[in-house]
């Protein structure tokens, strides 16, 4: 059934959707320019209140949207507010606006929720830091950019906010800019994501170019269908147009040269390159573990819950195009599956608590990608599952990071071997961390169980047995490495003085933990399939499918058991296994030497073979040319310097003579 929607008559929240990104923007300007020198407390409160206001606005939007289009029905795309931003020519305009559809509503909720809690937490975590105001200004900038990205109704706006998000991530990773490692990490993140965004940009331009040329044929039908939902007329860059069957049918028919690959696939793979950069898919994952140099709340907000899922969101947003391409979707699935396995394996050997969590994030992002990759328009369960996992993962991963932050705050170290026995010192942190660990490991009845379950079901249901096997194995690995850090951190003896003098965190920090813990428990009971869906068919919410739940739970139990076996009591058993594995262990511990490979390629190959010749060319040929022109100018100046006596009257003589000459010439020309 089709819901009749008139864009002119919407509720307050939908009419003022721009409020969601506007609050953090205003707060960013306020805090960054005016409040920062005044008072730390004021900065924190204003910034947090602004994001909280955004959260309320997002809640309002969600309520109104699902009142308008009840769960279980069809969920049309609305663009209730937009304005013209760039006008290249008639029929080629780029608007800035806010899109409202299930996934953007979901993302808005996730972003504002996690952001609010992280802001609150940061008031405690960053207390006394000299860069307090700057930190909150950056956080607000990030929140604004992320919401702008989520709300983008066209791919160009998304690209702009995509880059803004990258900038704020860069700023926040390099927040402790006195530390060389933080500077290096921020540069690394920036350069890697920029490299990926190059692909994205080419993809955007490809889409835009063909979108524009095919606009006349495809647009009228789409416009007729969606005019009532949009505040501004349809434009070539709009997602509504780019993901419409009319456009995709035409675009999918174009082949890229004689390669046998369609242009659509090329464009989608390029777009996916951007998504992979932002979501840190292999081989562009190398920036994310280093990004943990930023303050821990930043890791929780940006590098676990929100920004890194932007890639997943982009793929979901463009999903119909990927689905039509097919090959591109396979790329997504295999890259996701591989990253998931790869990161999980590395995660089992790392000692830095935040790094383990970072690799866990990589792994889970791979999960979401593979879920998208296995979905099709006909059986879109993976799509829903991916969004579902995105949602639950945001809750428990933010919780994990904030808990890790609390521990780091108490122990002043990132190494898990510096901790130990913290469960008595920090009971709340311990309890919430345990909940999150259980949730990510996929134990019933916590949220991770349900979302993972759906992903596995989707993989199995669409016949991707290999991927299903990988996912199942990764589930076991996840349980193993999560319990590993949990046990080492909270159980056993105090290994250092710091750990023995640790204290429970203040209320302003544990309240967000508690809220997130509650969310991690209950998030799984949201009937996501009713809310988020794609295509005509609604994914069936199948309840607990024991054919999948039992192996998944078994895998989790196996991982947990192994961890318990190895990391309770003395650590000798773990060491023994590590020794017995030998080179393999070192390989994994060194993260498969990916960074080193990158360094080799960039420093040795590219530097010697490309950069040096170019530099030589620049210094001798280009600079030489410039120098020659400079020399020529000077020489000619020298030639005529006798005319420059420095005396007004000689200048006057030249002027008068020249003027008369000109007069004569003009006169001659006139006669």
């Amino acid at each position: 059934m089709t819901t009749e929607i008139d864009i002119q008559h919407l509720g307050f929240a939908l009419r003022h959707v721009w409020l969601v990104p506007a609050f953090p923007l205003v707060s960013f300007v306020l805090v960054g320019l005016f409040l920062r020198p005044l008072s730390q407390k004021l900065c924190g409160i204003v910034a947090t209140l602004a994001v909280f206001s955004s959260w309320m606005a997002a809640c309002g939007i969600a309520c109104e949207y699902y009142t308008l289009c009840p769960p279980g029905g069809e969920h049309p795309v609305l663009v209730p507010w937009a304005f013209e931003w760039l006008r290249y020519q008639p029929g080629m305009t780029v608007n800035v606006g806010v899109i409202v559809d299930p996934i953007s509503v979901l993302l808005m909720l996730v972003v504002t929720t996690v952001s609010t809690l992280v802001h609150l937490y940061s008031i405690g975590y960053m207390k006394g830091d000299t860069g307090f105001g700057r930190f909150f200004a950056y956080l607000n900038l990030f929140t604004f950019s992320m919401l702008g990205l989520v709300a983008a109704p066209n791919i160009l706006q998304m690209y702009v906010f995509w880059e803004l998000v990258g900038v704020s991530s860069f700023l926040l990773i390099g927040f402790y800019y006195q530390k060389p490692s933080a500077v290096a990490a921020s540069k690394k993140a920036f350069i890697v994501t920029r490299f990926a965004d190059l692909g994205f940009l080419v993809g955007v331009l490809t889409l835009g170019y063909f979108g524009y040329t095919l606009f006349g044929g495809a647009a009228p039908a789409i416009t007729a269908r969606t005019a009532a939902h949009c505040a501004m007329p349809l434009q070539p860059f709009d997602f509504l147009y780019l993901t419409s069957p009319e456009f995709l049918a035409r675009f999918g028919a174009l082949a890229a040269g004689s390669t046998g690959i369609t242009l659509l696939t090329v464009a989608m793979v390029l777009v996916f390159m951007g998504a992979a950069g932002k979501s840190a898919m292999f081989p562009l994952h190398i920036w994310l573990p280093d990004a943990m140099e930023g303050p821990t709340p930043v890791s929780a907000l940006i590098h676990a819950a929100t920004m890194v899922v932007a890639g997943v969101y982009l793929v979901a947003r463009m999903f119909p195009a990927f689905a039509v391409s097919g090959a591109a979707l396979l790329v997504v699935a295999y890259v996701g599956a591989f990253t998931s396995l790869f990161a999980a394996v590395i995660g089992t050997t790392q000692d830095d608590i935040k790094r383990v969590l970072a690799f866990s994030t990589l792994s889970q992002l791979g999960y979401m990608m593979l879920a998208l990759g296995v979905a099709t328009m006909e059986s879109p369960l993976g799509y829903t599952a991916s969004m579902f996992h995105l949602f639950t993962h945001a809750c428990f991963k933010a919780l994990l990071f904030l808990g890790a932050g609390a521990v780091i705050h108490a122990v002043h170290s990132n190494e898990i071997w510096d901790m130990g026995g913290l469960r008595k010192k920090m009971p709340i942190t311990h309890f919430t961390f345990l909940i999150a660990t259980l949730a990510i490991s996929g134990f019933w009845p916590l949220s991770g169980f349900f979302s993972k379950d759906e992903i596995l079901a989707a993989a199995l249901g669409n016949g991707h047995y290999g991927i299903f096997a990988v996912a199942l194995f990764v589930a076991g690995l996840t349980a193993f490495y999560m319990f590993r850090i949990y046990l080492v951190t909270f159980w056993g003896e105090h290994r250092t003085d710091k750990a023995s003098h640790a204290h429970e965190i203040p209320a302003v920090m544990w309240i967000p933990l508690a809220i997130l813990a509650v969310l991690s428990v209950v998030a799984g009971y949201v009937p996501m399939a009713k809310f988020v869906s794609i295509g005509a068919e609604h994914a069936e919410h199948h309840g607990i499918n024991f054919a999948i739940a039992i192996p998944a739970t078994l895998a989790a139990l196996l991982g947990t058991g192994t961890a318990l076996l190895l990391y309770t009591g003395s650590g000798s058993r773990a060491d023994a296994i590590a020794r017995s594995l030998g080179g393999v262990y070192t390989l994994v511990k060194k993260k498969f030497y990916v960074d080193e490979v990158y360094l080799f390629v960039t420093h040795r190959l590219i530097f010697n073979l490309v950069s040096r010749p170019i530099a030589w060319f620049d210094r001798t040929v280009v600079d030489g040319g410039v120098n020659v022109s400079g020399w020529a100018t000077r020489a000619s100046g020298h030639l005529f310097s006798w005319m420059q006596t420095g005396q007004v009257q000689s200048y006057g003589s030249w002027y008068a003579a020249g003027a008369m000459l000109v007069l004569l010439v003009l006169w001659a020309a006139l006669i």
Partner: protein
Amino acid sequence: MNQLLASIAAYAPGLREWLLLTSVIFSIGLYGLLTRRNAVGILLAVELMLNSAALNFVIFNRFCMPARIDGSVMAIFVIAVAAAEVVVGMAIFVALYRYRGTVDVNRMDTMKDPVTSFEGPVAFNKEVLDNINKQYKSHHDH
């Protein structure tokens, strides 16, 4: 008698004679502008030129559009501009004299080479004052 008067009146100036006159005055001013060594002298020459230009306005007004008075208005503007120019020019010369001890434009060549031609007021002024005294003496001796 009337015959004589008539023959004299035959040489009554027309537009071309008037314009020729102003051209001559302007050329003389131009000559002064290019040859005078004293800055005040240059300003005098400029006044001559401005004056002939103002006169041209009135001449054209009188001969080419006698029904209007725009030429007179423009001449008044020229006079006002000349006044402003003299005020600023004279102020500059007085300040310059106080600072450098001379208004000889041949010495105003710091634009050419600041290192060799300008060493600062004291050294410069001694030289210039000596020069002035010498000239003053020679002028009154002969």
